[in-house]
Symmetry: C2
Subunit: 127 residues, 2 copies
DNA sequence: CGGAATCCGATCTGATACTG
DNA sequence: CAGTATCAGATCGGATTCCG
């Protein structure tokens, strides 16, 4: 399989803190968690709210978060399909921290931008 | 160039919150920031403290954090070389949140592990 | 609507070797 | 000690197509 929705780690039941950080630290996971908040959202809602995410990455991200027990997925067997996502109790314990991190990123875009320009400028003139 | 230490984004001065989240959400960045804490650390100290990081990834991670103004790098022109890393004032504003996230990951490894086993078991028996 | 499957170029990363 | 350079294998992620 080339791109499984939820890539097997190969060895069940031996995950490390590093793997967990890889999941929740992922930029899309951070956005999805922060956008879910306390509410229940549908796939298309999330796709609209998380600016720039592709359908594929939203699917992959949600599957990963679901597998890790951070997000719950509820399917209503109707046509057209209706699927609702929400944070699990464990996921809700992440909300404050993740929200803070996302806000920090948004608040520091300009400052980081200046730092990058300064760094790139210095390294171009240094040699 | 195949693997530049700090890959140019191509367009200076137009970074997005998503890029910033990509940097600070990176699992190695999270670890490095949390291990730096309030102290000044040397390259080898960090390599020892951040379990499992390769020399290359530590270099790449530190360069990225430096470029973004989150980490400062001080070189002492002696032999053997002595280089010290520390959080900048901006980086220090991240410390609490990042520390919380890393702790969360460490605290929830077991619970996430159980969730993965349950998820994988259910999807194997479902079809 | 909410996906799954596939293709495929871009990116990442570890291993290895070399250096001031 | 603290890197840089290079390469090959692994992974990521967008675009596209198809489906119930």
């Amino acid at each position: 399989m080339a791109s499984p929705a939820v890539p097997a780690t190969g060895h069940p039941s031996v995950c490390q803190a590093r793997e967990v950080l890889g999941r929740i630290g992922d930029k899309w996971s951070l956005y999805v968690i922060s956008r879910l908040g306390e509410d229940t959202r549908r796939f298309t809602d999330l796709k609209r709210d998380v600016a720039g995410i592709s359908q594929r990455m939203l699917t992959v991200t949600l599957r990963g978060l679901e597998r890790d027990g951070i997000v719950s997925r509820t399917v209503y067997p109707v046509m057209p399909p209706r699927v609702e996502y929400a944070l699990t109790p464990m996921g809700r314990t992440l909300l404050d921290t993740v929200g803070t991190l996302v806000l920090w990123a948004e608040d520091h875009v300009a400052e980081i931008d200046r730092a990058r320009v300064a760094y790139d400028g210095a390294s171009r003139s240094a040699p």
